[in-house]
């Protein structure tokens, strides 16, 4: 498809398990962003990629969170030893160029940790 695609759409996992969230950006987009959307918390920045590199990882909530991007395309956000507070909608976005261009968002992955 032409848009940003995220998988899975929904994920229910048990506390303590690891999860992987996938993002397929729009082809050719250099920048890729991960955000977390929690009820009442707005849109929390997690990490962004400039090509395959992540210049700013300061938004990752803890060392249980990691992300990578390969081939300047697909990105994976991994959460290890999930906790209930990790429950949220995880959004991915991509853009053609630097911060002045439009970011296109995926539909999100709703993660529920039980």
């Amino acid at each position: 498809g032409a848009g940003v695609s995220q998988s899975p759409s929904n994920k229910v996992t048990e506390k303590g398990k690891d999860v992987e969230l996938r993002c397929d950006p729009i082809s050719g987009h250099t920048a890729l962003y991960w955000y977390r959307q929690s009820l009442g918390q707005g849109l929390e920045f997690l990490i962004y990629f400039q090509g395959n590199s992540a210049p700013d990882k300061s938004g990752l909530p803890s060392d249980r969170f990691s992300a990578e991007r390969t081939g300047g395309s697909v990105s994976t956000l991994t959460i290890q030893r999930t906790q209930q507070e990790d429950s949220a909608v995880y959004l991915c976005a991509s853009s053609w160029d630097r911060g002045l261009t439009e970011a296109f968002f995926g539909q999100g992955t709703r993660l529920t940790v039980v």
Binding site: G3, T30, A31, Y33, Y35, G40, Q41, G42, L43, F45, Y48, Q50, P55, D56, L91, A93, S95, R98, G99, L100, T101, E102, A103, F104, F105, G106, Q107, G108
Partner: protein, 109 residues
Amino acid sequence: AQRVTQPEKLLSVFKGAPVELKCNYSYSGSPELFWYVQYSRQRLQLLLRHISRESIKGFTADLNKGETSFHLKKPFAQEEDSAMYYCALGDSNDYKLSFGAGTTVTVRA
């Protein structure tokens, strides 16, 4: 560091009334400001950006560098404007894009 502040979490207005969503930012670089909107069960999408100086769906926003603000305004709200609105800050020299906490707008008939 980039920072975007949206002081109102919830905003309720009547149809036909003016609506203004506040956004303030702090950034020492060359800021680029945006408003994004998320309608019910839809993806987050761009509403407008300050460099375009355009009006989208009757909304306008003016960048005030002196007050470091980028408030979103519409003179006559419509029911279809009910949504979550996010102010966002980018930089022409960087890839980072930061968002405010968002404002939920409800337009009542």
